[in-house]
Symmetry: C3
Subunit: 206 residues, 3 copies
Amino acid sequence: MPPAPPPLVLDLAGTFAFALNGALTAVRSARLDIVGVVTLGMITALGGGILRDVLLGALPPATFSDWRYLVVAAVGGLVAFVLSGRLDRLATPIAVFDALGLSLFAVTGAGRAIELGAGVGQAILLGAITAVGGGTLRDVLVRRVPSVLSSELYAVPALVGAAVVVLSARFGVGGTVWALVGAGACLAIRLLGIGFRLNAPRTGGH
Amino acid sequence: MPPAPPPLVLDLAGTFAFALNGALTAVRSARLDIVGVVTLGMITALGGGILRDVLLGALPPATFSDWRYLVVAAVGGLVAFVLSGRLDRLATPIAVFDALGLSLFAVTGAGRAIELGAGVGQAILLGAITAVGGGTLRDVLVRRVPSVLSSELYAVPALVGAAVVVLSARFGVGGTVWALVGAGACLAIRLLGIGFRLNAPRTGGH
Amino acid sequence: MPPAPPPLVLDLAGTFAFALNGALTAVRSARLDIVGVVTLGMITALGGGILRDVLLGALPPATFSDWRYLVVAAVGGLVAFVLSGRLDRLATPIAVFDALGLSLFAVTGAGRAIELGAGVGQAILLGAITAVGGGTLRDVLVRRVPSVLSSELYAVPALVGAAVVVLSARFGVGGTVWALVGAGACLAIRLLGIGFRLNAPRTGGH
């Protein structure tokens, strides 16, 4: 029995989290106007799913066929713009929304890759790409080295979350429960990574 | 009655304007050699249409199926390379060609999205993406914060121009006249935005 | 008689060379951890082919349908991470692996474009895009002006290598021999360009 498709609600929640994250990043690091803030929020929210669908050849991307993604992303950006004036410090919400989006997209991205017939390895990789894609575009646009290259455990938790979904589906026990387990594992590793400033091994030289 | 497709001549004119803009940007901000100048001109000219066609799932993109786009983009880059030595100051032509490309692509991009069956909201958004896409790639490649995020009224006029085309088509009065009205409205707003340094609202804090 | 498809071995060799190059670049210019190093290696190795397949409308890209590309890219990144501690200076291997990847992808990219029915001009351009695409993504991600815009003879040798393959196929003599001739020509021009710091003409002004 094929696994149920990832619940739409998880995917929209990830979209909303990344829209808040991208928009708050725009307020904080680039002092953009409302259009720039909402635009960066929408690119962060929709970029990962677009990249995934291009790599799966599933065009037009779901985010453009289904209005709900566009609306959720735009509303997230607007909410962040309005709220940003009330938040004393933005660093913590930015990091938390990023970790939430990362975790939700890792599992929904992997689920969609399975649905469309990708193999085990590809589905795990595509889950991770969905998770890190939007944030990578965000970082390039505000001229930072992307988190996926530099940050404490960013790609690793995404791969773990995607692997939980793909392997559970492979063993015939897929479904919303395992999607939540995968997302929870990803979120826990990411937050530990931030909290303890953990990194994967580095080279000694140079 | 479906609207006539946007006249090819408007699309090629936009391609030429963006090729001039991208190539002059290369001369001015990065002092590149002729290959770099023409390459940046071509990326600026073709990037928006490629992005639009990827999002519409209309691959290969029109710019690769139809030689005229490639030729016009390359010629524009070469012309700009040759002329750049004669221009005392490049800032004004760069801004004007950018505004022209923005206006023309907003209406032709929206027109192509309608042709390919996109809904009202998506067609407006895709018009704006066509308009701002090439310039965003240009800015990323020369390491500037993209105009679409930072600039005086850049995305807003593109959305207005696209909306004129989409709504006129929706009400059955589409055609070249309304494409010109949309492009004119976009151009006027953009040039006013530059002239008066207008911006959309900003947050107070941070 | 249509030309034989470019030997897979050349394409995998190019993938390996770019994976080494991207990963060593990550070690050198950004001091990334192992995940960042392998990620940048894989993006450099796979980016050009993905871009080419998007522009050809051949989705999902070969690099995602065929596991061997993913494995070769990942292994290349890991090998570079391990070896980087032993290399006193990284500048020379980085430049050489980049030139090798450029040369191999120019000919295999052009070959794949011909296979999929692209015209002469498009196939030459797509060969060059395959060759320079991964390195351009690499440079954007580590925040450098891309080699294709700034470097001594980078796009020119790629165009030459692709043209050798496309024109030999056009005259019915295509095959592995001409692919090697094209790659050799590209490599020679690129290395001469680096060695003698040659550049295409520049404008005088500004």
